[in-house]
């Protein structure tokens, strides 16, 4: 047994600093001049943090072998709960319209979609580690794709686009870490890129030429090449054509279907208010709890999805830079753990967890400043919410455990 003294304590310290700041910001988000009913939430969040610390400690006591052993059962239970959720779930909090909450009697247990991320990471790691080599063809993707695809479908049905996107990010990141060639990943992702570029013909043309060149260079199976080219053509040419022939209200309906949290009228307003809050913070901010945009409730969901603008408004650019630096440092430690690990499963779990946190931070922070679309996913350690706080700290617990398995070959990666 390795001694706990070998654990990655800087990682825990960073997570703790971020969480304490998070609770403080939840407290600040509740300090408003208009009644928002948020003033007491920070105590709940502190409780969530305590629960998270306990869970992290428990998880860190489990050996890699045990973790490896319980993974299929954990994954199975989570998928089962996600399957049942449309029938037993309820709406609550910021996702009132979707049945994403699990209740036991009248007590809300939490949002299974959050913990499902950890289960997916672990199951994916197990599946990828069970093979002696990395996927070499697109056809080899079917098992990892199935592992992610099942919960992904279930989450999208809730619907929860943000979490769905995080799953996709986890899948690609872990395939990359497992040794899949980047060309293959690009080809797998190419139809989505085509869709994104579909409305700009020259850009799409360049992308299409690039994909053709990639296929020529890597020479995958003929059937796969045809599938990739076909998918790119379908998304890049046919989709805009069909889109153009839709009535505006049909387009609107499709957009809302794809992302129900995007209220087209309000989302622009939300981003604007968020940007005004951040921009008015200046170098040093308006002072803790003193943000006027926040005090007057101009910020939407200022205790959950839009908590980062409160940081921007009250602590200024300096505060923002410090928080982002802490996140970056934390994630570098995670990558280090993944790189040092002598166990493929452990290494993949560590990298999958950092991919998950990275996706959350970049999407959430980017959304508040208007460089990412609004999807409504929480900011790790900051956003109010029990399930996600617990998920983040279980991840920290896992990482601590995984860090004990490292042997130091990756010391050249200086962090």
């Amino acid at each position: 047994m390795r001694r706990l003294a070998d654990a990655d304590y800087p990682l825990v310290a960073l997570a703790l600093v971020l969480s304490v700041m998070g609770v403080a910001m939840v407290y600040s988000a509740g300090q408003t001049d208009v009644s928002t009913g948020l003033s007491g939430l920070w105590r709940m969040q502190a409780l969530h943090l305590a629960l998270g610390l306990g869970a992290a400690w428990l998880v860190s006591r489990m050996s890699i072998r045990t973790l490896d052993y319980v993974t299929p059962a954990f994954y199975g239970i989570v998928v089962a709960v996600l399957v049942l959720l449309p029938f037993i779930g309820r709406g609550a909090g910021t996702a009132k319209s979707s049945r994403s909450w699990l209740y036991l009697g009248d007590v809300s247990i939490g949002q299974p979609a959050e913990i499902a991320k950890v289960a997916v990471v672990m199951m994916l790691a197990k599946v990828l580690a069970s093979r002696s080599d990395a996927p070499r063809t697109l056809a080899d993707f079917w098992r990892p794709a199935l592992v992610v695809g099942v919960p992904w479908m279930l989450v999208m049905l809730q619907p929860d686009l943000g979490t769905g996107l995080v799953f996709i990010g986890i899948l690609f990141a872990m395939l990359y870490w497992a040794g899949t060639r980047w060309q293959l990943l690009v080809m797998a992702a190419s139809p989505v890129v085509s869709l994104a570029l579909a409305f700009n013909t020259p850009l799409w043309g360049a992308w299409f030429v690039f994909i053709i060149a990639l296929i020529y260079k890597t020479r995958p199976y003929m059937l796969e090449s045809v599938a990739v080219v076909g998918a790119n053509l379908a998304f890049g040419v046919v989709a805009p054509f069909v889109w153009g022939h839709l009535q505006p209200h049909q387009q609107q309906r499709l957009l809302v279907f794809l992302d129900p949290s995007s209220d087209p009228l309000r989302s622009g307003y939300h981003v604007l208010q968020s940007q005004v809050a951040i921009g008015s913070g200046g170098w040093f901010g308006k002072g803790f709890t003193q943000g006027t945009q926040k005090r007057l409730a101009f910020l939407p969901e200022q205790h959950t999805d839009f908590i980062f603008p409160v940081v921007g408004e009250e602590l200024g650019f300096v505060g923002v830079a410090i928080v982002l630096a802490l996140y970056a440092w934390f994630m570098m430690r995670c990558i280090r753990i993944a790189a040092r690990s002598q166990n493929t499963f452990a290494s993949l779990v560590a990298f999958g967890l950092v991919a998950m946190l990275f996706a959350h931070v970049v999407e959430n922070v980017g959304m508040t400043v208007g460089v990412m679309p609004i999807t409504g996913i929480p900011l790790p350690f900051f956003s109010y919410g029990g399930s996600f706080m617990l998920t983040c700290w279980i991840a920290v617990g896992l990482l601590v455990r995984l860090s004990l398995e490292g042997r130091g070959q990756a010391d050249t990666l200086v962090i």
Binding site: V34, G279, F298, F317, I335, S347
Partner: protein, 606 residues
């Protein structure tokens, strides 16, 4: 420690070199993503900080205008004609017309709010959504206290002081003071109201309108902080408040005591107008149009019922008979004929005309009647003025000739506005000089003759004067030829010589005017201790009742005759003979000069 076979196999795959390469790749992605985010925040928080800081302030601050109390209007002795009394306005800050309707619906259960007032509020909101929308511009204390009770139910409601105009003399000053009201959409498009905002109170009519720029003061502003739904959270720091600047006192030439006296004489039964001027300066001592209306009821929106009542009144209270009404001046205008003839040297005050008055005058194939059917006989000019003999003036007009008569009248100001400082003064009707062109244009080259001069000579025909313009003409008679522009606001007088006579002629005229009251047509209006001078007029109105033409009664005069201190012109609409107007004028002059009429005035008739 037991290692599973899968784990052993995987060890081979995660070769340290590969892992290092991939972790460098991952670290690079991480680094670039965070640099990008930090850069984005730097751009927003440091580069564009000023812009966002401004938007943040605008976001939460709403401007609440504080109306400035309008300037107090006082008479020549400091008595209050118009003042600002405490009033309240109720307005609301709402984000949309829909929420305004909701608020109006709910507030309707607490305070009385008519359908029209609600619609008006929605219109106001549409015009300017950034300003608090006024729901009630003129709320009573009762309404305010009821609303205060339910304050918590109506966030966003702003109750504030809105000084209200009050005219203590009420209808007595309605002819010149005007009233105030919300600036209209139409007014806002005119350059005169540049810089005004919808909802602001402005002068409507009278001196309130004429001197709007001096009376309005400077609107103040305070700020309130609102939340994302536009609900008022609290007042902003009071240091941001700009206090309104009340306009200074506005002094007028009016003698409120005299004005009240004039209004009381007219009372409710008589229709007509009276103007009293200081002949030396043109200062308007009193100006009344009867019947008046109560300007206080016009504040904050005229009640529909009252407005209809005013419109339906056949005596037309809303029509200003002193400055807008035009009436044939009748015999009061004989003085213009006399002055023109005297200036031309065609006659002396003591001269008689060739034909004696026998009750009428034959000119060509037409017979022109004198008002006295039995005739006046041979009269001098002075006597003709005293007795108002038409036959004498027919002959005098013919002697002057149409051309010179019209030219003289124009020089005396018959065709121009008096220039009084009130809006919407009517221009009198009078032939333009040269007369031949005017008459040809009007009647055709063969449609007129010298006979037109006969009518003009006695103040009939193509001559319709405003009461205030006749008053201006009589200031010149009182002053020896210098006319003063009637002026309500106190200030430098504007005077102009309109005729010049040698002293014999002028004094002769003045004595004749004194004779009118002493022994002539206005003899019943004498005042003991002071000599009044003036001229009656009985002008055809063109309106018949019972086969008899109704006449307007005029009197224009001044007192004391030898050193005039007041010019008074009185017109009684359909009032019959001028002597009736003379009695009222004599009372006005007597009141002003603190004298009592020598003969107690009977109520009616001669």
């Amino acid at each position: 420690m037991v290692a599973a076979t899968g784990i052993e196999a995987a060890r081979v795959r995660l070769h340290p070199n590969d892992v290092q390469r991939r972790s460098r790749g991952a670290a690079a992605v991480l680094f670039l993503a965070f640099v990008f985010l930090v850069g984005t925040f730097f751009h927003a928080q440091v580069v564009q900080h000023g812009d966002y800081a401004l938007r943040s302030r605008d976001n939460r601050m709403r401007e609440i205008p504080i109306p400035a109390p309008r300037g107090m209007i006082v008479d020549r002795h400091g008595a209050i004609i118009a003042e600002s009394v405490p009033g309240y306005s109720i307005s609301v800050i709402v984000p949309s017309a829909d929420s305004l309707r909701t608020v109006l619906g709910r507030i309707g259960s607490v305070i009385p709010l008519s359908e029209g007032q609600a619609e008006e509020a929605v219109r106001r909101f549409r015009r300017n959504a950034n300003r608090p929308t006024v729901i009630l511009g003129n709320a009573t204390f009762d309404i305010v206290s009821r609303l205060e009770e339910h304050r918590v139910e109506f966030p966003g409601i702003i109750i504030q002081d809105a000084p209200k105009r009050f005219y203590p003399a009420g209808s007595a000053v309605s002819a010149f003071v005007g009233y105030t009201g919300e600036v209209s959409e139409q007014e806002l498009t005119t350059p005169a109201f540049a810089g005004y905002k919808p909802g602001q109170q402005v002068g409507k009519g009278g001196i309130e309108r004429e001197y709007e720029s001096r009376l309005k003061g400077a609107e103040g502003v305070r700020f309130v902080e609102v939340d994302a739904r536009g609900r008022v959270v609290r007042d902003a720091d009071s240091s941001t408040t700009v206090l309104p600047q009340p306009a200074p006192r506005f002094a007028t030439n009016i003698d409120l005591d005299l004005q009240q006296y004039v209004a009381d004489i007219f009372g409710d039964s008589l229709a007509g107008a009276a103007v009293a001027l200081d002949p030396a300066t043109g200062a308007v001592l009193a100006l009344h149009s009867a019947p008046g209306f109560d300007p206080n009821r016009f504040i904050g929106g005229i009640p529909a019922g009252y407005f209809r009542q005013l419109l339906d009144d056949p005596r037309r209270p809303l029509y200003n008979k002193a400055t807008q009404g035009r009436f044939a001046p009748g015999s009061t205008w004989k003085l213009a004929t006399a002055i023109t003839a005297l200036e031309l040297g065609l006659v002396k005050v003591t001269d008689r005309m060739p034909t004696p008055c026998t009750g009428g005058y034959q000119y060509g194939n037409r017979y022109f009647k004198c008002h006295l059917a039995k005739g006046h006989g041979f009269l001098t000019l002075a006597q003709a003025i005293e007795q108002s003999c038409d036959v004498y003036f027919y002959q005098l007009a013919l002697k002057v000739g149409l051309q010179r008569l019209v030219a003289g009248g124009v020089r005396l100001g018959a065709g121009a506005r008096s220039g009084i400082d009130l809006p919407a003064e009517s221009r009198p009707e009078y032939p333009s000089d040269p007369a031949a062109d005017y008459f040809t244009k009007r009647y055709g080259p063969r449609g007129w003759t010298q006979a037109n001069a006969l009518n003009l000579g006695i103040g009939q025909g193509e001559n319709a004067q405003t009461v205030v313009n006749v008053a201006r003409f009589y200031t010149a008679l009182a002053n020896g030829g210098v006319a003063a522009r009637p002026q309500i606001a106190s200030g430098a007088p504007s005077i102009e010589r309109i005729f010049a006579l040698d002293s014999t002629a002028y004094e002769g005229l003045r004595d004749a005017l004194a004779g009118v009251v002493e022994r002539g047509t206005a003899a019943s209006s004498r005042i003991s201790g002071v000599a009044l001078a003036g001229k009656t007029g009985t002008a055809q109105s063109g309106v018949f009742r019972g086969g008899q033409e109704l006449n307007h009664a005029w009197f224009a005069g001044f007192a004391p005759a030898d050193a005039p201190r007041i010019v008074v012109v009185v017109l009684i609409e359909y009032g019959g003979h001028g002597t009736r107007a003379a009695r009222i004028a004599s009372k006005i002059m007597g009141h002003y000069l603190k004298m009592t009429p020598a003969q107690h005035i009977q109520t009616e008739g001669e």
